[in-house]
Symmetry: C2
Subunit: 227 residues, 2 copies
Amino acid sequence: MTTRTPTDSARDIPEATVARLPVYLRALTTLSEQGTATCSSEELAAAAGVNSAKLRKDLSYLGSYGTRGVGYDVEYLRYQIARQIGVTQDWPVVIVGIGNLGHALANYSGFRSRGFRVVALLDADPDRHEETVAGVDVRPFSDLGQIVREHGVAIGVIATPASASQDVADQMVAAGISSILNFAPSVLAVPDGVDVRKVDLSIELQILAYYEQRKANGEPTHKGGAA
Amino acid sequence: MTTRTPTDSARDIPEATVARLPVYLRALTTLSEQGTATCSSEELAAAAGVNSAKLRKDLSYLGSYGTRGVGYDVEYLRYQIARQIGVTQDWPVVIVGIGNLGHALANYSGFRSRGFRVVALLDADPDRHEETVAGVDVRPFSDLGQIVREHGVAIGVIATPASASQDVADQMVAAGISSILNFAPSVLAVPDGVDVRKVDLSIELQILAYYEQRKANGEPTHKGGAA
DNA sequence: CTCGTTTTGTTCTCTCGTTCACAAACTCCT
DNA sequence: AGGAGTTTGTGAACGAGAGAACAAAACGAG
């Protein structure tokens, strides 16, 4: 049964669009908090920092949720995007590696408010197993399999040094995790069917440094001015 | 004098390539530490997690630094990329907002080793001004202008809550900073000539959640399996 | 009911990025 | 010296994404 049925609600949304949906979601939440009930594509695009044509095209992949001549109902569109991304459900998440970054992630409120629930903090260092971070006990890394089974965890976050990251990833995959967010500066090898996204703090700085250097040399600014 | 001289050493490197250069740099450093003196595009591509054709094309924008039939000299290529990105020089950086994330960033060793030197940690909260994080004193946010002038800071990092981020960005720009790395979940408005890059921890998780949801619904895996 | 105004949804075009495929260039072996 | 075997650098085909432009749809005024 590998054939795609035509009734699939979500066809194929382009990757670039998927990456922007959370941005729109955040913008809509902001508008909602400001008491805005309706907004045009122009307004929403401004709040999200993108072109209005691009926004409309992105939204058209989800369906026709706007009203011509009027705009979008903020609450309704917000729900539709949230449902499409999957943040209406609850996503249990484990964080491995409770160093500085692990601490910051465990305390980050933005996860909770978007449906991500940190069910466990794991670290290989026994000295940390007495700690409690953000109300969650730090447990031995060897408990990974049990925790994943118990909570049905599908998403894992790696905040270890690079040297440990591949081993952690292997064990995550073995335990049944199929999506990994990697903060370690390493390239992970994982089997097909497992998604990995990488966030590298120093890479972003290096990209800025490149353009900064060019600015200092009198090169004209590239297009990506604002964000 | 807005015309581009043909003697410009660095012509126009595509944005996508610039974003990958730091990845290659890291891969080369790893190879170097393993004692590898020479590598083929195939090996380096594997270490960086990209296609070898793409790697070769990327490198071709910098110049011809390889030897046909042999490959690339690891040290030489590493230096060339480092010079091109600008990480051979010293980049003074200020971090504003010393919460959990600010702490993690201040302690992150990956900055130092790539030429980024944290010259100041700033926070608006007077209670934090007694602290010392990673050997650097936390100072009042109002010192920003003086510090930027003193150290010639061009790059600023925002690790504040979203509510404060725009104000911090405005003051950074006023102080003369022209590149901003924004960790706050907000869209910053900045004048032309100022570069902003954004890292949003929860957005990455939401993107993973989207694909995870599709996997759970029996959709075939998309191409972006490994990373 | 009709017309003008507003704003979406979509089509078309163009630019940018990726991948393929191969000639040029280098090494090694005989 | 010459030929076989590698590996780079790049031209060309291909695909995806961005932006402009416009037709279709809703609304309000008269």
